[in-house]
Symmetry: D3
Subunit: 293 residues, 6 copies
């Protein structure tokens, strides 16, 4: 099978694999999607006791289950945080012990924030139940609704991102994106009592700021309009370029809102609208009516 | 690691987990997504013999495979139906034996309906093959097309919902939603010979009524326009609030149709249209042309 | 449980299962989605060494890993190609040895094309990195971005389709569709340096021709407008019916472009636009502004 | 394939399957070997913290891990105990609730006995370490020695048997038999500080009574000599028919000791001996020397 | 890591791997231990309905389960039989179609023999129950006793061997050997109502002939005494060289009986005996008593 | 469920878990039996190409498979060697980097020795084939015979032990012990062309020295006779206390040979013999004949 030797030779020439080959620093392996998936499952079991985690939980034994899950999360997540840092590390002169210590610290701070993270999710569950006449109870939304899945992953990822974690937050939101079709960048800021009905195709960009009590539908884009480049033609990263959506706004399915515009408090944006300008508080923006032909 | 004891304490305070904790009645466990997934796989093997189920099937042995699958489905589904009822049970004075008996009866009636369910799916397969010039044969649509996946789950779920099953139907349609991006509420009513091409992002609401021979594309929303609340500000559940789509209608990608409107027979709705009014039979509704800028 | 015997009887009547029963030729089993999934995973490990494949790879050992993966791919894919042919085989007088030999030949030619396939993917990775200000490095796009997942599956499937493989290419693009919400038909032709941001709901039809350096967003449809039928009312297959998109075009989210129209070089198509006509090179097409109400 | 219908017919005639068919009472399924295996794994994790159970355990988090394991053991074992009773149930007029309650009570009493069970195992670990010059530390015996595996399963099974559990104890000792070749009947009584070196082929019968500080080697049989039958020729069950082995006895490999004989304190029994009589305390019994030929 | 290239070179020199390398004929893969394990599990489910096979079985649905299992066994076993033949094939001029046809025929004849095979196993179950005072019912012996496991595998393997199958029978008896410590060669001939108590270490050689109603204990060897070689010093294969054990014989633990000797009807052989001569019907052979020292 | 809190309290008192709790140094986890099992499987695939490893191997692709396996073995085994050292580490002032470096060095030396290890195994395969008239070819012994399984694990473990590895060698021989019933201590020294027929219950002690061309049967013990203790009553470890077995010796089933005795060249030891003295070269030792009673 000499033909194969030939292909293998070509695929092993450095010029062939340059740009698509990952060479790890000090043998640090890639972050593990499987382990991150286990971590998120355990977090879900901690945050929504009795709904997830293969365990019937009673108040009398809850401590044990939450404690065991947190202990595992602590070990597993610390390592994944460190792998995330190694993935992007460009130092020749590495101080790996310092990175490992930092991963420890970040992980602890993340675990400390779980009660607050759950407090926010309680409001999201209420938003889902109150916002959908088809919901028969809050429990149904926790167990079945893509919005809760996507928002839980987002809130976890956002908190990790705020604590300085690299790469891992994006993997966690992409997990939810793949399962729900809802793509929330971990860098976005989202207030309490948030709900996305149906959700498939909704995109929330990196620098979005969303207030409290906002409701979106499927196929809504909160995106960027243009990407300034620097003098050398390279995209400038980190500029605020996505919409601000204030409290109590509703945006219907398929609406596209681009750029650093502000959708004022209590506004309603109709379906399929294309918007690149500010919208005053309390106003309603609808598409022009379609014609018969 | 005293810091963890502190977090665990906070997470175990009843006020923290109120609203996100599931306390099961009489130790009835949660419905199992894994088991429901097995049930749906076995139903697929029964409905489409030879395509699914890890078995080459010949007419001479078909009885055995279908019989074995139905026997397993019968046992597994009866239990899941019962768990679905327990999930929502609010009685202090439970008569669990009666519930178990009811789950038995429902399950039998569901199995009795499988020949009719398959008859409908045969028409859906023909619709997919006839509706897509890229399809090379009906078999390809059964094995590869998201529409068949989503419509099969929907027809199973809808039949269960009609028989009075709780929660399980929604889990079954959400399974298909996650895999196909097509979100059909189990309460919707859909006629024969139904096809959704590509499908990602299409949403069909709870009270929709869809006739025979209807074709949708990706990103179509058949949703609600507003949600009446009662005097106490609580959403009124169960009101007819989604479109009626009559026979032979075609709705192109990205169209959004909201409210209890009627899209008359043979109508064609263009892509990206936003519609909240009735459409006469046979008419064509298109978006206004976009301008150059 | 006599009720079950009755249902089984009904489900085993030929008129019940006609059209949804697959009877294999000479006991050739169905293509295996699991095996195809393994094949694609191994291809990913070959194409992006160090990113996928559960292995840290160093230049010194790369040959072994790539060689082992290609040897497995060779065996597994040859069989799947053959099963794809059997699936559609309608001959009474089969020459299975000839088919097996052809599967061998196709598989070798496919493997021979992997260096070129990787060359294209390198340009796609650069397109993703350069096109998204949120990307922190090319590695992040390889490991996390749905676009790379979907385009990799598409390029594999397209090459197989060009070599005459049946059914398998469609299964491979549907795998990516299910995970990313991006639906690219394996028959489409796509140039270098291609990127789809976010991607959920984007559809690229069978006869599309896309140039170099094109960028799409989520929810974009490049579809067919109408399907000519022959005199007997059967869809005519294989007609060029999807758009041509020339170099450097950008199409924003939710745009729907239908029919054999040409979007000229450097054009920009705004979000939510509905287009069924040619667009001149360099022009910008935007939706009419939405009104306040 | 009519030949198969014929075989199936024969295998479904009641006279064919009589005696090898299990018909469950009220649909109680068979005890699950997989679940019992999980239960024993979790018990091992509880009894030997840090050695088993996929968890690094520190004193500060030990409570959580042990609590979680005990909660799972409690649920799983209660059900298995009940299934064991159903397996042997011959009542027409069943009171299943009473059985379930009894299973609950037994399970609690079993869990209450775990500290004492661990105390015994600590002495067995010391016996293994002190009795084998090849052992490099007590930890090695816990992690590697078949004796610890077999004796742990035996002590668990014996305690369950004492509490009145049916069938389950035998399954648990057979699990260890299969893995270690050591066959200890759960009915046997064994004192502290017990060790079986190598162990393959050693058999300890149902009515054996073994004192403290006893050491056996591989291939030792402590069996019955004859089985009295009653007037109808049926074996009389439950008669004391196996040896009594007093404190500090050593029995070397391949020795066979049959019947209700007593091996007195401090006796040493040589390898390959065949013994059916009492042995005085402190004596040594060896095989006659083999001859050259 | 040049050191590894060097080792790999050495391991790939033909003189290094000669004798331990398997080069398959026409790419026929090795028999699969996993698949054979599945086949044996399904056979166990067919032979002992309700005890094995993850299914509660009722008379009314038994046909379906047995039919499905036999259909799977038929496909899987036919292929494994063929692989067994390929494994030993030394022909240059192969007629693989003939071999595949033969595998088909053998497999059918094997399936035809299952009712008789079950009839024999029913007698073995009774032998186990009647022969062990510790057994609480025949069901316990089916579910828990190594003897039933080993004898079931043996009877399957022996039937396959009689039908001319290569290699597979030995793999099947080795599976049971590994799990029970009982090593029965598939070539041995064993009558009805056979029981081996405890069983670990018992060996029954290729040319043994065992009558009805025989009971063995653990550690019994029925072996060969010497192996005649031909003029070139090569072992002569296939010579009758193991004991004949007539009806109703009992052989206690650790007895070693070597050579083509006959143990006459109703004889009893004591534990640890070493025997290389005929034993008259009805006689008792015991080891000389061990002495005190 | 307060009763459980009470049990948990008792199980977490240090005096309860002392002696059965493993506290890892610097969070080094326990050696992983699963990973060691994977390592041994990969070694088997390297040593016996084409027989094991889920791959058909041809000379033209052998390098890739062996290279990939060795690269994985190298990574996995280095870590396990290190864990073995941590398991026994008692230092307060650890230099973990030095240990890791040593693990690297040992692992390389082990891999360097694989060609010699395979050379020995080739002779063992010939011994098995030549020594058993029931063997139909050398390939059957590689694929099916417990002797090859046990001796392969032993030779791997012995080499690791010679290189100074802790704990891991014993785990590897215990894996084979569990599956075959053959218990060979990794410290034993065994020459070329070694075969154990049937093997269940055979034990070869730590300080045994076995020459070339030796054949054993099942149930043979090469053990220690007495264990000298030091003044404080503690067993003296490491003393030569097991038999020396010279070239060409045959030992039949159930023989027990204890102490530092020498079985001279070409000697034959009969079954069930109990031996604690030297045996002259060429002599035959048999048990006294059993009597009729």
């Amino acid at each position: 099978m000499g033909f194969m030797d030939n292909v293998i030779d070509q695929l092993c020439i450095p010029s062939s694999y340059e740009g698509v080959y990952h060479s790890s620093k000090r043998h640090a392996p890639m972050p593990s999607v499987e382990t991150l998936s286990e971590i998120v499952s355990r977090l879900r079991a901690v945050l929504f006791p009795g709904y997830f985690g293969h365990a019937e939980i009673e108040p009398g034994t809850m401590r044990y289950h939450i404690g065991t899950n947190l202990d595992k999360i602590h070990r597993l997540l610390t390592e994944q945080i460190n792998r995330g840092h190694c993935f992007l590390c460009t130092l020749d002169d590495m101080d790996c012990d310092a990175c490992e210590q930092e991963a420890q610290d970040i992980c602890r701070r993340f675990i400390d924030s779980l009660p607050e993270l759950r407090r926010l999710l309680v409001t999201d569950v209420m938003a889902a139940f109150e916002g959908d006449p088809a919901a028969v109870g809050p429990g149904e939304t926790i167990f079945c609704y893509p919005s809760i899945t996507a928002v839980t992953n987002y809130r976890i990822a956002h908190q990790l991102q705020n604590l300085g974690v690299k790469l891992i937050p994006r993997i966690i939101t992409e997990m939810a994106h793949s399962v729900t079709g809802i793509d929330i960048h971990p860098g976005a800021t989202i207030g309490e009592h948030f709900f996305i009905d149906h959700g498939t195709g909704t995109v929330i960009g990196e620098t979005c700021i969303i207030g409290n009590n906002v409701r979106l539908y499927q196929g809504v884009t909160l995106g960027a309009k243009s990407f300034p480049k620097d003098e050398e033609g390279v995209l400038v990263k980190g500029i605020a370029r996505h919409p601000i959506v204030e409290d109590n706004v509703i945006i219907y399915s398929g609406a596209t809102i681009l750029g650093r515009v502000t959708i004022g408090k209590d506004a309603v944006i109709g379906g399929n609208v294309w918007l690149t300008r500010d919208v005053a508080p309390g106003s309603r923006v609808l598409q022009n009516p379609a014609d018969n032909h």
